[in-house]
Amino acid sequence: MTEMTYRQALNDTLRAELTRDENVYLIGEEIGVFEGSYKITAGLLKEFGPRRVVDTPISEEGFTGVAIGSAMLGLRPVVEIMTLNFSLIAIDQIVNHASKMYGMFGGQVRVPMVIRTPGGSGQQLAATHSQNLEVWYAHIPGLKVVAPSNPADAKALLTAAIRDDDPVLFLENLALYSLKGEVPDGEQVGEIGRAAVAREGKDLTVVSYSRGVVTALEVAEQLAEEGISIEVIDLRSLRPLDRETFCESVKKTSRAVIFEDDMLSFGIGAEISATLGEAVFDWLDAPVRRVAAAEVPLPYSKPLERAAMPDATSLTKVIRETLDASAFGGSHHV
């Protein structure tokens, strides 16, 4: 085990995979000379040279498509799209091409590629640069979507994504890059399609992913002091979605709150809640609530941005309301 930042875990994993497999290469804007807008690729150009670490012009559709074509021939590109917001320019290549090829071409061609990109709000980047649009990608068959919430998962899932033969959207988050955590040493290959029980509890389940898990764990910690036992589920994989893990949790706790950074209507939480409503209907003691962002183009002003974003306070409030709604009187009652 070594303690390191999420950024470092990504950087180490990219280095390890570049070293392991000659077919792996990195491509994106400013990942070489500039060392990455968020410095995830720092040092890699010097180490592996311009053939393996490819700086591109500002052409998201072009270089994402180039990665796709090279993957069709057996290379294993790891694309960096500077932020999720810019992936809209490449989305025809990602959704209409990379995601469709294996199935539409009868399983003849594989598209082993990873698209790394950070989402996230809360940096005062205003409406166009603060979006959490992962739900769009999570809706698309043929694509895999993972969203690790900590350095250890970042390492394990990035390794798995690079070795996977399907296109994988690897969602990072601006607010997670400097987060520290223990990371197991040596090769770690995670499993795409599995959620994790990030914290065990018995009174209520909070389902979240990516940055939201960090807040959920903080809130769980605080409420524990009051004798409220919160189980936290980290989805980790948005597609495939591990319904079983969070359904089993809610069967145990009989209460659920979903915490997400994206906007409420038609967001990630909608699918979680709909799944619970269908699959564990008979186990639910209270309505499943969602804590998500206000539905406005996110403003730049800090007070407005804060007012629009879900946080520990709003999560705590909704957890309490959910417990009250089911006449919860503290763990000893259960």
Binding site: G69, S70, L75, D92, G103, Q108, I192, R243
Partner: protein, 364 residues
């Protein structure tokens, strides 16, 4: 001069096409080209007929009028080269080497189709033949084709033995962003690729001059220092030779280029388009330039074969196409239980295999 990429229009009036002697190909080669052109023609006419008989569904775009271009381009490609096409791909698929039976079966949506009935008309694909797919999103094939050239470059040395990539696109497709981004990358990184603009004068109902601010499409590489050549797309020999030269540049110099082939669309944009928007003059001009009889007469004039021999070729092709239809017709449909077989190349837990109306999961 470095900053000025060369641009050339190599066409001569149809009447002045090189004679068989001048081109100097063997009679066998010329006969094979003719046979291939007839095969594309007959296959497409039959496809239209099968569509009318509801054996084929969805969109269906034909190569009618493009036969000389198809044959010229395909004869310039090596087995080791990669081909990316548009949705107008039947002829390319067949001449690249797919069995007409499997191509027709794909049109019929059968399990014996080249992609098992999953793609249909717009999505012919064969990895072994390095036919890397027909693509239905306009311009969608250009970035991946450029990426294939990137991979060739990543792996191999430049030189006469190098692999190369050919990317087809229509005239109207030069106006989409993916064209610009891709050509800039190819020019910047010196990728071994030839962008073939199949100019049939129309994008659906829109003439080139109403779509492109620079209607001389072979010149559009100027913004990337990419040279361009315009060639008579109704002459398979001229197309082949221009393609060979462009491919050579790609292999040896890693110089991407544009090849614009000029031909006519003999029918509507797709089988369901009556093309009422076309004037009689336009239609007459198109018919007058039909490349199949033109090449036939040229070979007869050149003494390669006589009318009777041409007739024999024609009949042989017809029965071959008839067999293809019979094969397609007698092939089985894919079975609904195979629906989830082709979602992921690497299996992962929790992938949905639910049919409409299935419970989301069964809890106990």
């Amino acid at each position: 001069m470095e900053s000025e990429a060369s641009m050339a229009d190599t066409r001569r009036p149809a009447g002045a096409r090189k004679t068989v002697k001048q081109v100097g190909d063997s009679a066998d080669v010329l006969r094979r080209y003719y046979e291939q052109m007839v095969l594309v023609r007959e296959f497409e006419l039959r496809a239209a007929e099968m569509y009318a008989r509801a054996k084929i569904g969805g969109y269906c775009h034909l190569n009618l009028g493009e036969e000389a271009t198809v044959v010229g381009l395909m004869s310039a490609l090596r087995e080791t080269d990669y081909l990316y096409t548009t949705y107008r791909d039947h002829g390319y698929a067949i001449i690249r080497g797919m069995d007409p039976g499997n191509v027709m079966a794909e049109l019929f949506g059968k399990s014996t189709g080249v992609v098992g009935g999953r793609g249909g008309s717009m999505h012919m694909f064969d990895l072994k033949l390095r036919m890397m797919g027909g693509y239905g999103i306009v311009g969608g094939q250009i970035p991946p084709a450029t990426g294939a050239a990137f991979a060739v470059n990543y792996r191999g040395e430049a030189g006469p033995k190098s692999e190369a990539v050919m990317c087809l696109l229509g005239d109207a497709t030069t106006n989409i962003g993916a064209f610009h981004e891709s050509l800039n990358l190819a020019g910047l990184w010196k990728l071994p690729i030839v962008y073939v603009i199949v100019n049939n004068r129309l994008g659906m109902g829109t003439p080139v001059e109403h779509a492109s601010a620079e209607p001389d499409l072979y010149k559009r590489g100027c913004a990337y220092r990419i040279p361009g050549v315009r060639v008579d797309g109704d002459d398979p020999i001229a197309v082949r030779d221009a393609a060979l030269a462009a491919l050579e540049k790609a292999r040896v110099e890693r110089q991407p280029s544009i090849l614009e082939t000029m031909s006519f669309r003999l029918k509507g944009h797709s089988v369901v388009d009556p093309a009422r928007y076309r004037s009689t003059e336009d239609n007459e001009e198109a018919q007058a330039n039909d490349p199949v009889p033109a090449f036939r007469n040229r070979l007869i004039k050149g003494g390669v074969f006589d009318a009777k021999a041409a007739e024999v070729i024609h009949n042989a092709v017809e029965s071959r196409v008839t067999k293809a239809v019979e094969f397609a017709d007698s092939s089985p449909d894919p079975s609904p239980d195979e629906l989830f077989d082709r979602v992921y190349a690497t299996p992962v837990p929790n992938a949905s295999h639910a049919y409409p109306g299935d419970p989301i999961m069964v809890m106990s």
